[in-house]
Point group: C2
Chain length 411, copies 2
């Protein structure tokens, strides 16, 4: 099986009117020929591609869908706001309501500033830190993804040396490397350390933060007078509504949010402490749609639903069920796999599969068996994933393991 | 009169949870106390603030509303798409449909790449030009607004010297200054010249492009092997659907679009020629919501409606009626004013009003009399502005001129 007729026709048309036929992280050329490029709709934990094939969705639109597709509470809020307005000459009251909700929900937050992309949020946080400190240097972990602006995109084409000259790298979970990076930059030149709540780089196992690392970063920032920026874009709202490092007792000065914040509606956010409030008001950042109301109404509904329905526990339970199932299946089929990351952000690699060839073939088998997941990027669980959804997914992953084992035996 | 109770209460709440109480271009602190900060809804060419006061809308949400608020065709398309999906694991067929529509509509375009902010579009265009040429330098006009990323924001706080080191300035409508900027940068170092279709800088009269300037920019880019990037974010879709310089016979290599493209729904776009296609596919830019479907469905409906209903002629007629009325009113009240820019993007200044004090007082009078416009930034007309809307606006502007004349006499 390869993708269906509609998908192939759309790819042919796209090849004429899109650069390279597609762009960005949703480019299916990075996946197997069994993965569809085009999708049509979603409902709960299921999605349908352009040819009508159904999948259990383990990518959740690469993170944004945290409550399931077409979540009724969110959709109702969006429809109600859309009847009034989306984009006006100024914000609506929903801006204030959402800001208050975030300040009440996220432990370190005293104010909120909204944008559209995760990249907007990380870049704005960096700009605020620079304005607050009068310093230029930014420390980030090697391999970490903080967006696709010139200062942080993983693709170097079109990026100038000057775009990166103020970025200094350290190793995640290695405080000595952070100290070395501080020394390299000069302690008095460091505006911020930008870090994700866990190491979720593509092309490698995920790695939870070591509590001592999180605590140590906080101490280093305090010592050198730099801002600690927590990039919650990918993991935010799935681990702890109060902030992903709250259980470690570590609160950032600034945090960047997007993806899950409005269950698939375009929104991003920077949250900050009182100490950074003046700097945040001194910078000039804006966008034509940064005050648009429907995604803010969606965010109020999304965050409230996660909180009121204990969505994080639901995601943890579903993700744990998936991981337990995958580990048992792999063992029964004779594969040595590693499931890494929090249950809510699952990922699976095969031991010794350095070029991800096994992972790609297995992911292709999953797609053929109605499970949409990714071979080289972490997956996402949503609160809509029921036990039945996970069991259906496990049927597909088991068939994919079996096919992979059969191919192995045939080879 | 000042703003109403609801607006004041919302401002008080916002002061606690937003940096500086508000941020960005919609910050009402830049306006008079008679201008509301918060809005509730819009319909056609009218908007209502949070206290229920109605205004004829001459700002169109700072550009995005090109067909009028709650345009039925656009809203229908949005609702229909929203029932299927907004954000999935890949794009929907609407991505292809919209790309084809833009390639068919905009003369220079052979491909499209979508994003969320005008700043995304200008920054991506610059990145593509750099990837294509292997060069770093970008030429922009002094005072031009190309977005709020570090390389282009008008606010310097938090921006590093390196963010701007590759940007060289010229004077709009002055080819000699462009040649001097090329010499300063070094002809072999210039990746792109980025320019707006007209000079619509804030705090000054607008200035139409001189055809010889547009033609000369094209020739200079061809001579030095740089890309001509037309920043259509503000003026696009209001002057000429084929491209704002099409009547001058000048086609850019890349163009950046946002604002009006989806009648208020969050979308931005880079369009390019075949020669830039490979470079566009070589860069890595993306965003969690760049493939989201509803704003693309809105864009298809918006562009189709402007085309099929001759929306540009409607805007031109309404803007001309407004300008004729304003000029007659100013004369009758004894004011020396200048109406500048195309009819579809009106703006009015008072002669000798270098600190914009008269403009601010007049704009405040307009707000008190049910007309929402801006004292220091160009306004926007939409296709929904009927003769009756313009006449109602002129009633308000006339009362504002009268009040200003009375204040002058009293002073």
């Amino acid at each position: 099986m390869t993708v269906g007729t509609v998908d192939r026709q759309l790819r042919d048309r796209a090849a004429r009117v899109l650069p390279g036929g597609m762009y960005g992280h949703q480019n299916a050329k990075l996946l197997s020929p069994d993965h569809p490029q085009f999708f049509a709709r979603g409902s709960g934990a299921r999605v349908w591609d352009a040819d009508g094939t159904e999948y259990v969705d383990l990518m959740c639109s690469w993170g944004p869908i945290v409550l399931g597709h077409q979540h009724e509470g969110v959709q109702r809020a969006v429809r109600a706001q859309m009847e009034k307005a989306e984009c006006l000459n100024g914000p609506t009251d929903v801006l204030v309501e959402l800001s208050e909700l975030l300040v009440d929900t996220v432990a370190h937050a005293r104010w909120a500033l909204f944008a559209k992309n995760g990249t907007d949020a990380t870049t704005t946080a960096v700009t605020i830190a620079r304005a607050a400190t009068g310093r230029d240097k930014i420390l980030v972990a090697k391999g970490a993804y903080h967006g696709s602006a010139p200062w942080c995109t993983p693709g170097p084409a079109g990026v100038t040396a000057e775009d990166r000259v103020n970025v200094v790298k350290f190793e995640y979970n290695d405080l000595d490397s952070v100290r070395a990076a501080v020394a390299e930059a000069g302690a008095g030149n460091v505006a911020a350390i930008v870090v994700c709540p866990l190491r979720h780089d593509t092309f490698r196992d995920q790695e939870l933060v070591e509590p001592a690392f999180a605590i140590g970063l906080r101490a280093i920032c305090d010592t050198i007078g730099a801002a600690l920026v927590l990039d919650e874009v990918r993991a935010g709202l799935r681990l702890d509504l109060a902030g992903s490092w709250e259980s470690h007792g570590v609160r950032p000065d600034l945090s960047a949010w997007s993806k899950a914040i409005a269950n698939g509606h375009a929104l991003a956010c920077v949250l900050g402490t009182d100490a950074l409030r003046e700097a945040a008001s001194s910078i000039y950042v804006t966008g034509s749609f940064w005050m648009a109301a429907t995604s803010m109404a969606a965010a109020v509904a999304t965050i409230s639903a996660i909180r009121d329905d204990d969505g994080i526990a639901s995601m943890h339970r579903a993700g744990s069920r998936l991981r337990d199932g995958l580990e048992a299946q792999a063992k029964s089929h004779g594969f040595d796999v590693r499931c890494s990351g929090p249950a809510q952000l699952p990922f699976l690699t095969f031991a010794g599969d350095t070029d991800f060839a096994l992972a790609r073939e297995w992911a292709a088998g999953c797609a053929r068996n109605g499970v949409y997941l990714h071979p080289t990027h972490n997956w996402f669980i949503g609160a809509a994933h029921t036990d039945a959804d996970i069991d259906r997914a496990l049927d597909g992953t088991d068939a994919a393991f079996a096919a992979l084992a059969g191919a192995d035996r045939a080879a």
